[in-house]
Symmetry: C2
Subunit: 411 residues, 2 copies
C-alpha cells in the first residue's frame, strides 16, 4: 500500500469522528489558523507566482494563482459564511410507520471521504475543505502543480488549526504530488473515496469523468443558449443577451449562443448585433445572421459546440421553437438555457422540453449559482443527472440512510 | 456508428416523447400485448430452458429462467401495480422566490435513457421496462445469454404493444447480443445513456461498477450483520436471527453474520446455535463461539467478507459495541445492519455510527425492500451513497431540474 492509499485510509478514520464533533468550532479554528499563517502563506504563494511568471504563464492564470491579503480575507469570510449555515447532517427528510408499527426514517448522513480535483485557484483549497467538513466528510484535495507550494501552506495551516483544538487533522489532506498519475490513482480508489468532484476547465472535467472508477459529479461546462422567441419583448431579450454574454464572460453560466426566431429576427437582430459590437463581443453567425450585418464572421460547425468563455458569441436564426429545442438538444451541455417570450405556451413548452440543470423563462442564465439560488455556498454546478443537478450547496454533498426502529418485527 | 449506438440514439429520440404521453395507457397496451403473445413467449422460453438443461445448468438457475402461466400473470400484475402508482414526473419538490422576484422551482424530470444489465430471470425484462417507462425514460435491456430468446420474445411483445397504440416502440429496446463486449460498449456510451443499473450477483455488479464510464447505481450485495448487544432481549434477538437467516437465505437482505456481546454470549449463544442447527444452518464461528458448541466449524478470514446467500452463517463474539461497530465498518457491504438491544444509548450509537443503507434497531434486515418500505415497486437496492441509497422505487429513477421564471431579471 502506497502513500495515497494510506492518506485516504487516514482520512476515512478521521471522517468517522466528524459527525459527532462541533464542526463549526473546527471551522473557526481553521479560520484562526489561516489568519496566523497568512504571512507564510502569502510568501509561499509569491514564490509560486514568481516561478510561473518566469515560465511565461498567461496573465489570466497568474491572476487566479495569486493570493493577497484581500483574497485571504475573502477566504476567511467564506468560512464564516459556511459556519453560519444550518447543519446538513441528521435531518429527518421523511419518516413513516410500516403497517407492522416499525418507524422508518430517512436521515441525512455524510458521504465519508470526498476528493476535490481542481485547477489553479488556491482559494478553492479552503472553500472546498470548509464545505466538506461542514457536511461531515473528510476532504482529499488535489490542486494544480502550479499552486502546489501555496496549497501545501494552506493545508498545513488548516491541519494545524484542527489539530491544535483536538480535531482530527487527517480530515483535511492534500495529495502532495505534481504527478498526474496521483489523480488517476485517486480516481481508481474504489471503496476508499466516496465521491470525487472536479472543479475546473472542460479538459480537467473530461479527464476526471472518463477515468473515474469511483462516484463522481461532473461540473461546470456550460454551452448556454438564449432563444429569442417570435413573441419576445425585444427590449427584455436584449437585456438578457447583454447580461448573459457581457457581465462575466469567463464563467460557466455565461451565454455562448443566441438563437433568434425568423419572424422577430429583422426587428431584433440588427439592434442586438450592434449592441454586441458596442460591447466588444465578436459575433459568429449563420448565413441568415450575416445577411443582416456584414461585420459578422461565419460560424463554423465546431462553434456551436464550443464554450468560448470569452467575448465571443455564435448566432443562429431558427424557423420555430421546435428548431430551437432541437438545436439545444443537439448542442447544449445541460447547464443553463433561456427563452425570452411573452407566450405562455412557448414558455411552458421550453421549460418542459429542455434537458438542462436550469431552464429560464425571461431571466438571465447568469443566475445559475449557489449563492443566487439561496444555498449560501457552492461547491460547483452539476451538469449530470445523477444525485445533484445545477448549483450544489451543502445539501448536495450529503447522502442519506434509512433508520428503522422496531420492537422485534420479522417478516 | 454501429448498431448499439444506433439503438441508443433511437431510444433517446423515443425518450423525448415519453413525458408528454399517457404512460399509464402505454403500460396497459404492453400488458395486453404480453397476454396476446403468451403462447409464443412460453414456447420460446421452453426452448431456452431445454437448451440450458442440456448444458447441465444448475436447477436453481433453471428455476429462475423458467416462465410459466403463473409467472406471466405475476409479470402482468406487476405492470398493473406500476400503473397504479402516482406519476413521478413533474412534481414540484420545492419552490421559492429570489429576492428579485424570480420564481425558482425544483421539478422532477426523467433521466432519458436507462440501461439495465441483469441476469437469468426473464421477468426482470418486463418489471424493469415498466418502471423505467413510468418514470419517463426509455429503457435499454441487456439480460443474460441463457435467456436471450425469451427476452427477445418479451421485448418484441412489449414493442408491438407500444407501436400498435401509437407509442414510440424504441422506448423499449433489447441489446440483442450474447457477446459480453456489448455490455462493455453500453457501459462506455457516455452521452448516449444517462444511467445504468446492474441487477444480479456480486460478479455482474462488480463488472459493471469497474467498467462503467457512464453514471451507475450499484445494487444488491448484502453482507448483513445482526449485533446482539449486552442489553438485548434474548427471545427477540433469536427471532430476528432466525428470520434474517432462514426466511429466504438467497436474497441480499438476508443475515450473513452474527456478532454477540461477550457478556450475553453464555446465555444467548448456546440457544442460538441450537436453533440454527435445528433450522439446518451451517455455523462457522470464531474460537469463542466454538468453545460453546463443538459442532461449530471454524470461520476463515474470508468468511467475514462473504455473502453466503445460503443456509450458512458466521458467528463472532465481540467485547463491546465499539468492537461490533469496528467489525461492521471493516466487513459490511453498506446494505443492511441490525442491533438487538434494550439500551437507548446503544441503539442511538449504532444507528448514528453504522454506514449502511438501512440500519435497524430491533427489527429484521429482511425489511430492506421497496414493497416493505411502501414504494409500491422496486428496481433494486442501492448500496452506494450517490443519488439513491437502499430500496429504489420510481422516485429514485428520476432526476430534477430547476425551472426559473422571471420578467427580465439580470445580474
Amino acid at each position: 500500500m502506497n502513500s495515497l492509499e494510506q492518506l485516504l485510509d487516514r482520512a476515512r478514520v478521521a471522517s468517522r469522528k466528524l459527525p459527532g464533533l462541533d464542526r463549526d468550532r473546527a471551522l473557526d479554528c481553521i479560520c484562526r489558523a489561516l489568519c496566523d499563517a497568512e504571512p507564510n502563506i502569502l510568501e509561499t504563494n509569491a514564490r509560486d507566482v514568481e516561478r510561473e511568471r518566469a515560465k511565461g504563464t498567461p496573465d489570466s492564470l497568474i491572476d487566479r494563482l495569486t493570493l493577497d491579503p484581500e483574497k485571504m480575507e475573502g477566504v476567511r469570510e467564506g468560512i464564516r459564511q459556511v459556519i453560519g449555515l444550518p447543519d446538513p447532517l441528521g435531518r429527518v427528510l421523511e419518516g413513516w410507520r410500516h403497517p407492522n408499527g416499525m418507524l422508518i426514517e430517512r436521515v441525512t448522513v455524510p458521504f465519508g471521504v470526498i476528493g476535490i480535483v481542481y485547477e489553479s485557484r488556491p482559494n478553492v483549497t479552503v472553500d472546498a475543505a470548509a464545505l466538506c467538513l461542514k457536511a461531515g466528510s473528510a476532504v482529499v484535495l488535489r490542486g494544480s502543480a502550479s499552486a502546489l507550494d501555496s496549497n501545501r501552506a494552506l493545508v498545513r495551516a488548516m491541519r494545524r488549526g484542527l489539530c491544535g483544538a483536538g480535531f482530527p487533522e487527517d480530515a483535511v489532506a492534500l495529495v502532495d504530488s505534481a504527478d498526474r498519475e496521483a489523480v488517476t490513482r485517486l480516481l481508481h480508489a474504489r471503496g476508499r473515496v466516496d465521491l470525487v468532484i472536479p472543479r475546473g476547465g472542460a479538459g480537467l472535467i473530461r479527464h476526471v469523468m472518463e477515468n473515474a472508477r469511483v462516484p463522481v459529479i461532473g461540473t461546470g461546462v456550460g454551452n448556454c443558449h438564449l432563444y429569442v422567441d417570435r413573441d419576445a419583448d425585444p427590449d427584455m431579450a436584449l437585456g438578457l443577451l447583454l447580461n448573459g454574454k457581457c457581465q462575466r464572460p469567463g464563467v460557466c453560466n455565461a451565454l455562448e449562443k443566441l438563437l433568434v426566431h425568423r419572424e422577430i429576427a429583422p426587428e431584433f437582430l440588427p439592434r442586438a448585433l450592434r449592441a454586441l459590437e458596442d460591447a466588444g463581443v465578436e459575433v459568429r453567425g449563420d448565413e441568415h445572421t450575416r445577411a443582416l450585418n456584414a461585420h459578422v464572421l461565419s460560424a463554423s460547425d465546431e462553434d456551436w459546440d464550443t464554450e468560448f468563455l470569452d467575448r465571443v458569441i455564435a448566432v443562429r436564426v431558427v424557423d420555430s421553437l421546435d428548431d430551437a429545442l432541437e438545436h439545444i438538444a443537439r448542442h447544449g451541455s445541460g447547464h443553463s438555457e433561456a427563452i425570452a417570450t411573452r407566450s405562455l405556451d412557448a414558455a411552458t413548452r421550453f421549460q418542459s422540453s429542455v434537458d438542462a440543470a436550469a431552464v429560464y423563462v425571461n431571466a438571465s442564465t447568469r443566475f445559475t449559482d449557489g449563492f443566487e439560488f439561496g444555498f449560501g455556498a457552492e461547491i460547483g454546478i452539476s451538469t449530470q443527472k445523477l444525485h445533484a443537478r445545477g448549483p450544489m450547496g451543502l445539501r448536495e454533498i450529503v447522502s442519506y440512510q434509512y433508520r428503522v426502529t422496531g420492537e422485534g418485527q420479522v417478516r
